[in-house]
């Protein structure tokens, strides 16, 4: 692949990333709420299910935008929300924070 095509793809993806930032922020806010509920010891089933769905999507797409570490952290959150354990739920807040950090400076 020539450099021109590579640059074109990079530009297009950068545009999609910028376009999707408001939606991404909403998703991260939801993960923060799920983590807060989990830390308080009472995560609602609907919140857990939504956090699982969002984490699954982020695990699948952050890497294509150049954030492989974000995908890895989201994957950990996905697995915790899929089969929650007390230890896993207790780590959600730290993982949610780590996820935001991995997306800096955009987030």
């Amino acid at each position: 692949m020539n450099k021109k095509t590579e640059a074109k793809v990079d530009d297009l993806i950068a545009g999609l990333w910028k376009k999707g930032l408001p939606s991404l922020r909403e998703r991260l806010d939801l993960l923060d709420r799920a983590a807060a509920e989990a830390s308080a010891g009472a995560i609602a089933e609907a919140t857990r299910a939504e956090a699982h769905s969002i984490a699954h999507k982020l695990a699948g797409n952050l890497g294509m935008f150049g954030y492989p570490q974000g995908s890895e952290v989201a994957s950990k959150i996905e697995h915790i929300c899929k089969a929650p354990t007390p230890e896993g739920l207790a780590s959600l807040a730290a993982l949610a924070k780590q996820l935001r950090k991995s997306l800096a400076p955009d987030i």
Partner: protein, 136 residues
């Protein structure tokens, strides 16, 4: 020109895959956001291959694939599953369905076309293969 149908409920995946395949391979891209919509488009448009997400609401990828296999008008179209799951057991389960290949998310937009081509034995940027000569 190759025509690829992307079936995924996630907008970002459809958009990134579409633009990367168009830009890097010059393929024409069709998209659907559900298995049901994908079956409809595959039937009417007859794409050269289908790239389909595993986890979708309502009808998931493996179920959509089984439905496609029961439809003789689209059963011949190669299907590649797109999944975020990387466990060996999942790979074997999906391969056991009879799909042509499995690709993992997140994918690299710059090499996605090459990955698809490698699995399907296509040369990136090449025209469609010539039809077989009629037997004499």
């Amino acid at each position: 020109m190759r025509r690829i149908l992307i079936i995924d409920d996630e907008d970002d995946i459809r958009e990134v895959a579409a633009l990367s395949l168009e830009a890097t391979a010059g393929w024409q891209i069709l998209t659907a956001n559900s298995g049901a919509a994908g079956i409809e488009i595959a039937t009417t448009e007859q794409p050269d291959a289908i790239l389909m997400d595993v986890m979708m609401p309502e009808v998931d990828g493996p179920t959509t694939f089984r439905i496609m296999q029961e439809n003789p008008t689209i059963a011949h179209i190669p299907v590649l599953l797109l999944t975020a799951k990387v466990q060996g057991v999942d790979q074997r389960r999906f391969a056991g369905l009879g799909v042509n290949g499995i690709l993992f998310k997140p994918f690299d937009p710059l090499t996605l076309a090459q990955q698809i081509s490698d699995i399907l034995g296509w040369k990136v940027g090449s025209p469609d293969p010539l039809p077989p000569l009629p037997s004499s």
